[in-house]
């Protein structure tokens, strides 16, 4: 059964739109159609957080609150969600929400333009965490930029919310809201607006059918990259197939020697799970992007986008991850190391989609990953280095090294690896090996870093990895 109507909860009611414009952002919808101007546009690319809104989602009879960037989310994404705007936090008797109160009390606003976004990020944090600490606060607010305050009063406002009892109106209306959620039946979505089409199938079977008919369509996962085609390049995306409603793609399979992650799993869900196996993976993921981005962004999306930097990609490469491609024909399992062809070009054929990612768990290995960027939070790497080493009796039995930001695609350092394999784990061999990085990579100059700096840190990261392993402690300033 298909439908051309999206339904979402707004102001305690179900709101319906027939054939919404699939290229319209939620931000434009909110500001221009709903005439709610509390939500601001700061950058239209998900980089400043001024447009942060919160989406409520029914998960196992509970409501989960997700902060997202409304400026890069298309309207149909609202289907089946609860839309919460900054104005909606005010209680029915006109009182400020505890989060808003804290921001006033601690002087968290100056010019006020970033404030609604901060309030919404803080609101999601408040709703999703019983107790708060510095890490949670920094992580929750790292996707919101403020140019006036220097953040200290905002952090203090957030801290003051720790262990306060949550009995805001969202708690009071919870039962009613859940009822509304249950009223909305998620059907296969097929929208036609002028010359634009948008599909959000619920099953892989449906997805395949649509793909067969529309092999030229853009696949939308988190959309944090794809949407910029509209908001920045001002192009029209004529055909979009959203993978977001396919429950079969949202899974994590924990096996003994391997984790399999469905293509639709959000980065934020994934980072929680991978932490116990590879803590560095989680640290990098936290810096991959803000909470707003990680709430919608997926690892499969990151792979398909094939950015030369692609933060998670060098990590997956050094872990020798595999991906399952699906589509009209048979499923195929391929090594990620063979997936990237050239700049933003991959083996993904038209009509194909990524089904899942398989990450081996190496119990004996040491895994380390480093991201170097100008800014700690929410920045694109100058270089990202990842190292997966198996040492047996002080001999390097296996080593897999991969870098992002060093080439037109993220790739392994095969020559460097060769020098190290089967050698004694010693400073001497590492010092020798780092020279080989020059034969593995030819980095470029750009606004983020010069090629000489890129090469220099690539070498030093390998050295750092050696030092950390040797001294059995981390050597990091952050």
């Amino acid at each position: 059964m298909t439908s051309n109507i999206i339904e979402f909860i707004f102001n305690n009611k179900i709101f319906k739109i027939t054939d919404p414009d699939p290229n319209e952002t939620i931000l434009n919808f909110v500001r221009l159609k709903l005439k709610k101007t509390g939500t601001k546009e700061g950058c239209a690319e998900g980089g400043c957080g001024a447009c942060t809104i919160v989406l409520g989602e029914l998960v196992k009879n509970n409501i989960k609150y997700k902060a997202i960037n409304a400026c890069i989310a298309f309207l149909p994404i609202l289907n089946g969600k609860q839309l919460i705007l900054v104005e909606d936090l005010i209680s029915s008797d006109g009182k400020l929400h505890p989060v808003q109160n804290a921001m006033v009390k601690f002087h968290g606003s100056q010019c006020g333009f970033c404030t609604p976004g901060f309030v919404m990020s803080m609101f999601a944090m408040y709703k999703n965490n019983k107790s708060l600490n510095d890490e949670i606060i920094n992580d929750s607010l790292s996707g919101n930029l403020c140019r006036c305050t220097g953040y200290r009063p905002i952090i203090d406002a957030a801290k003051s919310l720790n262990k306060t009892i949550d009995n805001d109106e969202f708690v009071k209306f919870k039962k009613k809201t859940i009822k509304l959620f249950k009223k909305i039946k998620i059907k296969n979505l097929e929208i036609k607006k002028e010359n634009k089409k948008y599909f959000a199938p619920n099953t892989i079977l449906e997805l395949k059918k649509i793909l067969k008919k529309n092999p030229d369509a853009n696949l939308l996962s988190g959309g944090t990259d794809l949407s910029l085609e509209v908001t920045k390049s001002r192009k029209e995306l004529k055909k979009i197939i959203s993978l977001n409603s396919i429950k079969e793609l949202d899974f994590i399979n924990n096996k003994k020697n391997e984790i399999e992650i469905g293509a639709g799993t959000s980065l934020i869900e994934f980072e929680k799970l991978i932490k116990k196996h590879y803590p560095d993976f989680t640290s990098i993921l936290k810096r991959y992007g803000s909470v707003q981005i990680r709430n919608v962004g997926t690892i499969a999306g990151n792979i398909a986008t094939a950015s030369p930097i692609g933060d998670t990609l060098p990590l997956l490469l050094s872990l020798d991850a595999k991906i399952i491609l699906d589509g009209a024909k048979k499923r195929e399992l391929i090594s990620l190391n063979k997936f990237f062809i050239s700049y933003r070009k991959t083996r993904l054929k038209k009509g194909q989609f990524i089904y899942s990612v398989k990450i081996p768990i190496y119990k004996k290995n040491i895994f380390k990953a480093y991201k170097i960027s100008k800014r700690f939070d929410d920045d694109i790497s100058s270089v990202c280095g990842s190292f997966n080493i198996e040492i047996d009796k002080n001999r390097i039995k296996k080593i897999k090294i991969a870098y992002g930001g060093m080439s037109e695609i993220p790739k392994r350092a095969k020559n460097t690896e060769k020098t190290l394999i089967n050698s004694i784990f010693s400073e001497k061999i590492f010092v020798k090996a780092i020279k080989n990085l020059e034969s593995d990579y030819r980095p470029i100059d750009d606004m983020r870093a010069s090629k000489s700096y890129r090469m220099e840190i690539a070498k030093n990261l390998l050295l750092k990895c050696f030092l950390e392993v040797k001294n059995k402690k981390t050597l990091r300033v952050n």
Binding site: K36, E45, C114, T149, G150, P153, I372, S450, K464, V477
Partner: protein
């Protein structure tokens, strides 16, 4: 309540705090448009230096939703928005001088359609080689003005005779304002040719004048309104392009037009902070006392003069920071480049001048193997001698030594220096650094006539007060502070004073909200209006109630008290009205004492100075150049502050903005003159993890303005930005530790991880 300080010195939240957090604070783009409003977009040059052969607008015209297009030929009057000098054409006729220069604009039925339409233009250019860097400009002698030379004493001789001499050069980088609210204007045509202009500007009066000139109309036909702006930092002081183009389209179409720049366009089109380059020679004794300094100071001004003359002048006036320099020679070069015009940015050249001297001091200390702390103190201005600046102004309010010493003690500076050395000797790959730096910053517009302000105060018959003044609310809380002062003066609760939009038809001929002077000037003007109303009231009360009382009555808790007689404010206002007493007044203020001869570079350009100091400790990663700010201690002078919470906000916010300027914010142009850092994905301002892990900020408790500034307060607008100099020099200190403090590191600002690593590498090669 605090007696006469009723409502003053209270940490009242920002007047709009409630509205900020709930989304109800209205910014220009939030104003609901009347039906028929058009939306505009600007088409700009893709070349940095070129002759325009042809602009083909056919496809643009045909594009969906397009209603009107304007080019230079639609401008009836002055085709220039240069605030002081010409050079900023709204749309150039023949020659484009930077990548991003506006060439035409369209008005369409929606923002999206307007933005899509401008992309359809076809322009044929005859390309010329652009000058992108200061180096090229200096080499080719492409200057906006003749070289300015200033000489005091005999530096050449002093340097020659000095026991020690150092030469070097130093660069500080540009900076994008990145106000969260981009440039936006909304113009509504009214009857006759009148226009109502809503604009996100720091300078409504000049917006008004420039639009009038552009349209060949009188200023009285243009009204500019600003309720609040979403950050300015100098970036909205002279950027009149947006409002002028919007007004031109409204004038042509006779329809309301809104123009909001997309973030990329905003960064590409509008100006940024001046990059500065200095080349110096300094002579000093074995104790580090500077005998003479010769310095060449060049700045990257971009394609036009804009405010570059004043900005460079402030750099020259702050080349001393807190140090006595009696033998000095400065050559100042204003480099013309094919980049967007460099413009005002918090600090306004002062910070660039101060960084130049701080770097020299730091190098002297490293050369002498002494703690820079000692060299700084050695060179400080003193109270009774060595108190005349290089521009001949006697410093009468010097408290830098008190602040410096107090902060050094409070922050355990000396002890930590030793601890850090110990840490560094034990750690190969992580190095710590520490620095203490002073700030002395002059307050007043150096263009003397700008130091004036107006205000308008009404009391309505119900006793409520309406306040209007020429200052712009851009986050600094000027409306809150001035309302506090007015409430205090009337002895009324703060909430009785209604704050209103800045409006050129209420207060005319205002200066920009800039130079840290907004509250000083406009607050004084508001008080002037208040005192005129009070005079009327008191005269009336005395005559009606036959009171003989020679002292000033006291206004407190809603009463006016003449000795043992007191009158309820609201009641007496009603009575005054019935007796036909004026309850409204304008107010005016002009800063006393200041005068400055620009030609001889001498006089008293500043009414007073602000002081402060900061200690910063950092850790750098020797292998990657990554770094972290471990701890910052600040002691800053706000005089007798009006609102401690708001001042604290300015101090901390200014510090972090300065930290961004000196560490991570890097504006990049490629060799074609295209800016490559034009969005938050490529241009990084500090985010939440960048701020100091420990951040101890204190307002100097003994602060008191010697001059008669409202409440004896001192402004906190720009000065705190310069506290962040300590971050840069702490990083330099950490790098120096790599060579066991034997070699002075070479590093320019911003100290990005890349520059740090390269500096470490360079230093290691010398070992």
């Amino acid at each position: 309540m605090k007696g006469s300080n009723y409502f003053v010195k209270d940490a009242i939240p920002h007047d709009s705090a409630f509205k900020h957090v709930s989304g109800f604070a209205e910014y220009t783009d939030d104003i609901k448009e009347p039906e028929g409003t058009l939306f505009a977009a600007i088409g700009w040059s893709k070349k940095a230096n070129a002759i325009i052969r042809k602009i083909d607008l056919k496809e643009v015209k045909r594009s969906e939703g397009v209603v009107s297009i304007v080019t230079y030929s639609d401008i009836p009057g002055r085709n220039d928005v240069g605030p002081v000098f010409d050079g900023d054409p709204i749309f150039p006729k023949k020659k484009v001088e930077y990548y991003g220069q506006p060439l035409f604009a369209v008005a369409a039925t929606s923002v999206e359609l307007a933005r899509k339409a401008v992309m359809k233009v076809k322009i044929s250019y005859k390309e010329l080689k652009p000058i992108v860097t200061m180096k090229e400009s200096l080499k080719k002698n492409k200057l906006l003005f003749n070289v300015r030379k200033i000489k005091k004493g005999n530096p050449r001789k002093k340097i020659f005779k000095s026991k020690n001499c150092l030469k070097g050069n130093f660069t500080t980088g540009s900076q994008e304002h990145f106000y969260l609210e981009g440039q936006v204007a909304f113009v509504l045509p009214r009857e006759d040719n009148d226009l109502i202009v809503y604009s996100s500007t720091q300078h409504p009066s000049e917006t008004q004048q420039l639009i009038a000139k552009m349209l060949n109309q009188k200023s009285n036909s243009i009204t500019v309104l600003v309720r609040r702006i979403g950050g300015g930092f100098g970036g909205k002081e002279t950027n009149f392009m947006t409002s002028s183009i919007c007004a031109l389209l409204a004038h042509k179409t006779r329809a309301p037009v809104k123009l909001r720049l997309d973030r990329d366009d905003d960064i590409i089109i509008t100006g940024k902070r001046h990059e500065f380059y200095s080349d110096y020679e300094v002579g000093f004794d074995d104790e580090g006392l500077i005998n003479g300094l010769k310095i060449k100071l060049a700045s990257k001004c971009g394609m036009s003069p804009d405010l570059s003359v004043a900005i460079n002048e402030r750099a020259l006036l702050h080349i001393d920071n807190a140090y006595f320099l009696s033998n000095i020679e400065i050559e100042n070069y204003l480099c013309k480049t094919n980049t967007s015009t460099s413009t005002a940015f918090r600090g306004f050249g002062g910070n660039q001048g101060m960084m130049a001297i701080e770097n020299i001091i730091d190098n002297i200390a490293r050369y002498l193997k002494k703690d820079p702390f000692e060299i700084r103190k050695k060179n400080f201005y003193q109270k009774n001698k060595k108190n005349i600046t290089h521009y001949g102004m006697k410093i009468e309010d010097n408290i830098i030594k008190e602040i410096f010493d107090k902060l050094a003690k409070k922050s355990d500076y000396k002890k930590r220096v030793l601890e850090i050395k110990k840490f560094n000797s034990r750690n190969n790959y992580q190095k710590k650094g520490i620095a203490i730096t002073p700030v002395k910053f002059g307050i007043s517009f150096t263009t003397i006539h700008l130091n004036q302000a107006g205000a308008l105060v009404h009391i309505y018959t119900d006793g409520s007060v309406y306040l209007n003044h020429g200052g712009i609310e851009m986050g600094q809380g000027t409306h809150t502070k001035i309302a506090q002062i007015v409430a205090n003066s009337f002895g009324l609760p703060y909430k009785k004073v209604q704050i209103s939009s800045t409006n050129t038809s209420k207060v005319p001929n205002t200066s920009a909200s800039a130079a840290s002077s907004t509250t000083d000037l406009n607050g004084a003007a508001a008080l002037n209006a208040v005192s005129k109303i009070k005079t009327n009231l008191e005269k009336f009360i005395k005559s009606k109630y036959k009171i003989i009382y020679n002292k000033e009555p006291i206004y407190r808790n809603g009463f006016i008290v003449f000795g043992n007689k007191s009158f309820k404010f609201e009641k007496i206002i009603q009575e005054a009205y019935l007796n036909r007493i004026s309850l409204s007044s304008s107010g005016f203020y002009s800063t006393p004492k200041i005068k400055f001869n620009k030609k001889s570079f001498s006089g008293r350009p500043f009414y007073y100075f602000c002081y402060g100091a900061a200690v910063t400790e950092v850790t750098i990663d020797k292998l990657t150049g990554e770094n972290i700010v471990n701890r910052v201690d600040i002691l800053h002078d706000a005089g007798n502050e009006i609102n401690p919470a708001l001042e604290l906000g300015q101090i901390e916010g200014g510090f972090v903005q300065g930290q961004g300027w000196l560490t991570i914010e890097e504006v990049n142009w490629n060799s074609k003159g295209q800016i490559t850092t034009f969005s938050p994905s490529t241009y990084k301002i500090p985010a939440i993890s960048d701020i100091p892990k420990e951040f101890n900020v204190e307002i100097y408790k003994d602060g008191m303005n010697k001059e008669n500034v409202i409440n004896k307060s001192k402004t906190t607008g720009e000065p705190p930005l310069m506290l962040a100099m300590s971050v840069f020099f702490a990083i330099k200190d950490a790098i120096a530790s790599v060579g066991n403090y034997k070699i002075s590191p070479i590093i320019d600002a911003p100290a990005t991880p890349e520059k740090i690593l390269m500096s470490v590498k360079n230093l290691e090669e010398k070992l």
